[in-house]
Subunit: 387 residues, 2 copies
């Protein structure tokens, strides 16, 4: 078991109707608010109007149009400008992980004198950040309970992860009913994203009985509840459990004491969506079983055996390699079952830029330190197998 330093100060207010507590929470942080959101979905479900009504005594500025794989330019830059020009005191992010991630980059940039890209690329360290409150409308990224964000810069094909302990949301409002209208496609992609967060932590050295059990419970919960959400999008219980399982995905609780793993699936997928702007969870789901097959070896087989037996209920008396292969097949089959296109070609990615992407990943992501180290050739092979 490895040493760790862990803290997650975010307050989670969870359940139907909890939004009524928004004014009290916001009031403690400031009156001048940047309301950040994406497209029109929060207007369709009435959440936009609800927020404006609840915060009628606050001064709201708006940053809308934040896209999936949120963009440095214009979203982060525009948000920072709005905050600086208007003395914004607190950011309210309403949406999914992309809106939240964008809000985090803005929160840091708003209190920094230079180019916010310096912070995102760790060339400078944020001395301070605006407080963030969020209202989640998509179960997926876990950004509502971590201090990280992922920001894309289109002109350089960069999709960069940035973490700073100042960027934990002060409070996350988690009302599962806001996810009732999430499409089947986004529900499945959210599930794949959250499952991958767990897998990135589960396929590690030095794991504990405790964390293995936590991860397996998370994976089983996500699979069962995603099936239930797809069967009945308004199944409160399923939406609720899925939301909560996703929320825990990235704050570290699934892997305290485990070895670092390099998060290879995310490292590879970030390049795919930086180059092609695909749906993050779909990219992850496509790569996952190919990565698994690629890293399966005598060294890793026991981890796959545990995964197969405990997550998929595969007969533990079978040969170890057989269990491992069935576990990988079951992973593929599950993603296919929930409707994810399982080939990169299905999402518009061909072989043209594989070499370029593999080089970009190998240079920028440090996967020679991963659970199974991956060099440029390995990465290219995994992407090629995913076509």
């Amino acid at each position: 078991m490895q040493n760790f330093d862990y803290q997650t100060p975010t307050r989670l207010i969870f359940g139907e109707g909890v939004i009524e507590q928004l004014p009290a929470v916001m009031g403690a942080l400031g009156r001048k608010v940047l309301l950040a959101y994406g497209g029109g979905s929060i207007k369709k479900i009435g959440l936009y109007d609800k927020v404006r009504t609840l915060l009628r005594d606050f001064e709201l500025l708006e940053l809308s149009g934040i896209q999936p794989n949120p963009k440095y330019d214009p979203s982060v830059l525009e948000g920072v400008r709005l905050c600086k020009d208007n003395g914004v005191e607190v950011i309210l992010a309403v949406g999914g992980g992309s809106v939240l991630d964008c809000a985090k980059a803005i929160a840091a940039g708003a209190r920094y004198d230079g180019d916010p890209w310096d912070l995102i690329t760790y060339r400078a360290k944020a001395g301070d950040a605006l407080p963030i409150v969020d209202i989640l409308t998509l179960a997926a990224t876990g950004s509502e309970y971590d201090c990280g964000c992922v920001i894309s810069r289109t002109e350089t094909n960069d999709k960069v992860g940035y973490m700073d302990e100042r960027l934990f949301p002060v409070c996350s409002f988690l009302d599962p009913t806001y996810t009732f209208t999430v499409s089947k496609k986004q529900t499945a992609a959210g599930c794949a994203d959250a499952m991958n967060h767990i897998m990135e932590q589960y396929f590690a050295e030095d794991t504990t009985l405790l964390n293995d059990g936590f991860c397996e419970a998370g994976l089983k919960s996500l699979m069962a509840n995603t099936r239930a959400c797809l069967a009945d999008p308004q199944d409160y219980r399923a939406r609720a459990e899925m939301m909560f399982a996703c929320t825990l995905g990235c704050n570290g609780i699934y892997a305290l004491g485990n070895s670092q793993t390099g998060w290879p699936l995310h490292a590879i997928e970030h390049a795919l969506s930086a180059y092609y702007d695909i749906t993050h969870g779909e990219g992850l789901a496509i790569i996952t079983p190919r990565w698994m097959r690629y890293i399966l070896s005598e060294r890793t087989v026991d981890r796959f055996v545990r995964y197969g037996v405990n997550v998929f209920g595969i007969d533990p008396t079978l040969a170890r390699l057989e269990i491992a292969q069935r576990a990988i097949d079951a992973t593929y089959a599950f993603f296919e079952e929930i409707g994810i296109p399982m080939h990169l070609r299905d999402v518009g990615i061909g072989e043209e830029r594989i070499g370029e992407m593999a080089h970009h990943i190998a240079v920028n992501e440090g996967l020679e330190q991963a659970y199974v180290p991956l060099n440029e050739q390995d990465i290219a092979a995994i992407i090629t197998a995913s076509l």
Copy 2:
């Protein structure tokens, strides 16, 4: 799934040697420190000297002699007096749950003008509290990661639980090597305490796949690692995992969204140790299987089936009642195996005061709201069966 409002702001610094970070953590909180500890064990293991060396630039006042089932008089009162008289800025608790619990009551009392018992019994609400840092030397209570404490008042046979969100430790130092010298008796009692924390949350309504899996992982981890700690008290990995599984026991993560359960095992045991000052974990272990047998019914049997199959690996094809009974037997057998005396008579409790204790519990603990409601007669029957 039920609504919840959850926050655990405590920073956990975990692993061998992390104590070196103590001066930096303390320095941010103040220079005038109340060093609270129990008997001489922290001196025997060299921790006392280490702390004094690390904090040589701080002004330390000492409160020693804090007992198991920490006492309002003298420990809490003396600590509050020391803090008030000397302008203490931060409390450093070095020890197990009892020392930490005592430190929490002191932290609240030190910033309150009246009798601290008002706070502990919720007749008044703390407006503020001193910050607490702790160095844990016993894996058991989880007090290092929650905002509660349990304080005993000998003259009235009260053992009262008190929670306030101001009482989360700012930072808990968790170095498993400090538990290498914990006796077999205390190791087993700590395990029983932590297992009971999980059971109190697992035997509930409205549980989720996620939390059920978390709880089962916690229970399995505690059992396997306690066996390993008893076999080799210096097994770092086992001590480490046990410490961490215990740490998560009471902060709510094992049961977010579950129904409230009334924590009946703790409610009953608190009276036993208030009247007889027995070891808390042993009292819990003795009561647990008797409580389980008492509440087993058609309504609860499926919970016991899940428990038996997933925690003890009992054959799921057996009849439901058979699985449940085997699960209860296995619970008893495990506690017996790790050396816990499994009858109240073994720890000096006879039948003389059962009626009195049952009445005290029924009046004070509100167990008519428990997972299975318990009245005075039920409580007396469970204690009697535990003799």
